[in-house]
Amino acid sequence: MDEIVEFRKATKEFRGNAAVRDVDFTLRRGEVHALLGENGAGKSTLTKVLAGLYPLTSGDMLLDGKPVNFSSPAEAMKHGIAMVFQETNLVPSMNVAQNIFLGDEGFFNRLRGVNIRAQQHLQRLNFHVEPTALVSTLGAAKKQMVEIARAVHHKARIFIFDEPTATLTPEEKQHFFALVERLKGEGASVIFISHALEEALSIADRISVLRDGALIVTGDASDFTREKIVQAMVGRQLTATLYGDDAARRVARSPGEKVLALENVSMGKAVRSATLSVFAGQITGLFGLVGAGRTEMMKIAAGVLKRDVFHGGRIKLRGETVRFRVPRQAVRRGVAYITEDRKLDGLFDTMGVAQNVFLGKLAKGSNPVSLIGMSEARRQSAEWIEAMKVRSIGGDARVVELSGGNQQKVVIAKSLIQEPSLIIFDEPTRGVDVGAIAEIHRMIEKLADAGAAVVVISSYLPEILNLSDRILVARQGRIVEEMTIDEASEEKIMYAAVH
């Protein structure tokens, strides 16, 4: 088979640190190539070089056997390379048709004409997206379809998908896989970056695993197993300790005092009369598909979102009815909500680790003129930085420069320093590497053992099964199923979540 893309000794350095080092990588015509590795392994960097976002520091990139060096994404696009990002790059305030033809409009445009052309284009691809719909009203899967339609319109023949399935529901995932098959059928090549190993195993023709910027192994997908991939990714055998077999697990913790109770809580369309309880001394897993309203339920409990003024239901904290209007009120009552999107509302990203953590402590206090300083911040936050095992390049590194796992640990430490008694983890291990996942899980367990009420929201079933003592399943804004860990199985939870 002929190679369409080839990297030879490709190296990309950032400030002298190699993110990708001496990588020899090939992409064949008409294949789906899965690129796997921990966070920070260099997957995104390698593909971003191909997409023209970064130049190579050294080494060669060959397209159709000819050396190329793209100076901009537009140039890569001209050569038929399209990258579909994790966060889609669409203009939310324009409609689908306008987005498809973005950058390729005529001098004069008639909206109706553009809509009709887009309609034809989408039909040819067999995408069920309304061309006149505003992009901001679309779900994640539809947005991805629009991106792909745009790429196809620009005559792309190499598609790079960066974590395409992370935000999709199982149903949407099936759509996506069918789409990848079709692109392949039409002779396009696909690079597929993912954390979901099963997906990679089922969809890819070939698999490459990167670790610390180096290519560890590459080969036909049929030669790989889950264990083999994980071993290549982490360079050590971690499979058993992480997401090990659930059956061999400890006994469930017994519930303590009822800490939080939601009674018929409602908010718009996201939460509809949700009722649930959370108990001290155990971990309550909250599972639901995207759009089930689980994040919103917990955000209401923590004062981040406001519930409906009328018929909003009741929230009880330790038996006392509360109504938090701002997060501060909840924080001062010992409720911590640890965000699912650390970049959006978790981190103070140009500040250092100690400052970030210390701000958690400051936020809970009340005297505004109390004197503080960097040494004070370092001293007070040291305990939690240590407990969370945050590893950073030097003590004062800005948190943007840390890996995803370490950033997540900082966000957690920032909340734990407030000594909360009810801790809500929203997708605690999203975008976190395998090593850090284990450490974060251990910390969550420790909190429950120490008597805190812990809620873990997750859309990853093995994580829910591995951590929870009690499992709640959300669907369409309400809790539809409650079970203990002994009764739970993947099938049972999924059945409740989708039905």
């Binding site: 950032f14 966070n39 509302d345 978790g346």
Partner: protein, 334 residues
């Protein structure tokens, strides 16, 4: 990193790697140039006049900086300044004691700041619009109900008041002392208090600041109240040194000069960073520039042109010498 510490040579290049460094270099250059070219520039009298004239600008810029660091902006500063001071003078002239009148002026400034802050914090109006509109409202109210004359002279019979603008402490004008003192206070507040740290947090990531439990809305109100009070203070010094306050200042380019000082000094308008020394640096540079050009008798319009060009240059050089590092913005999702 190791190269930089091993070799003491590249001190200058590292200095030039920040906007701060560039502005400092430009300031030194301008100072040297003016001293060399203009004999009247490098004289004790002129230098003192220079520092004194920019002190008021500097004080106002300190108020602005506080708000800008927390990702806000306050373009109502001048309106608050002229109206509160003018009104205080009118009250004093109508028979009340000057001290009482000044107290009323201060209360007016604080009230204005609190209302603007509430509009932003609770009404969730964007700071630029809230303060732009509030500035017009304050000025309009003042001119309609509180005073009609543009020029308000300092009320007679208050010897101590004129000392603020004209007096000296150990040979240093009180104006300069006031600027220095406020710099010190604000520096301590920003770097040493819980309030200050939370200001940085709010500017850095407002959403995270809220979720972490910072009293976000009271903090916003406090910022605008403080900046309004600082503006009032600057107005008193200005009135004292000129023996009058001119409400026309509201229509001048003063507010843009303040923003010039803040941005040129290196306090990003997107918040979260910047220190008092950036304000001092910006103030000194703008001061040298304005003073030099005034001595050279350059036309006012040309002066504005030069200010604009300098601002553009500073921003362009900054982005050339110090390109946004691809890695720092991307690392999290590698």
């Amino acid at each position: 990193m190791s190269e930089a510490t091993a070799n003491p040579g590249p001190r200058l290049p590292t200095l030039l790697k920040s906007q701060e460094g560039i502005v400092l270099a430009l300031a030194v250059l301008a100072f040297a140039l003016f001293s060399f070219l203009l004999p009247s520039f490098f004289s004790a009298g002129n230098l003192l006049a220079l520092v004194r004239s920019v002190s008021i600008l500097g004080i106002l810029a300190l108020g602005m900086a506080l708000v800008v660091i927390a990702r806000g902006i306050d373009v109502s500063l001048i309106a608050t300044m002229v109206v509160s001071v003018s009104w205080a003078f009118v009250i004093a002239r109508s028979g009340y004691s000057l001290e009482f009148a000044l107290l009323i002026g201060a209360l007016f400034a604080i009230t204005a700041g609190v209302l603007i802050g509430s509009l932003i914090a609770f009404g969730e109006v964007a700071p630029i619009f809230a303060t732009l509109a509030a500035g017009s409202v304050i000025y309009g109210l003042g001119r309609t109900f509180f005073f009609t004359l543009e020029m308000q002279n300092v009320p007679p019979g208050a010897g101590w008041f004129s000392l603020i603008g004209k007096g000296r402490v150990l040979g240093v004008p009180v104006t300069v002392v006031a600027f220095a003192a406020l710099c010190l206070v604000l520096h301590l507040v920003l770097s040493r208090t819980r309030f200050g740290w939370q200001i940085y947090a709010m500017g850095n990531n407002p959403a995270a600041a809220k979720i972490t439990g910072i009293a976000y809305r009271p903090m916003v109100v406090a910022q605008y109240a403080i900046s309004a009070l600082i503006a009032y203070g600057a107005g008193l010094i200005l009135a004292s040194s000129a023996s009058a306050i001119n409400a026309r200042l509201f229509n001048s380019t003063m507010i843009y000069d303040i923003l010039l000082v803040v941005v040129l000094g290196g306090i990003g308008l997107n918040g979260g960073h910047g220190k008092v020394r950036n304000v001092i640096l910006g103030t000194v540079f703008v001061g040298i520039l304005l003073n030099g050009m005034t001595i050279m008798n350059i036309d006012y319009t040309i002066q504005n042109l030069v200010k604009g060009v300098v601002l553009l240059l500073a921003i362009v050089i900054d982005s050339l010498v110090n390109p946004r590092d691809e890695q720092t913005s991307q690392q999290g999702d590698l």
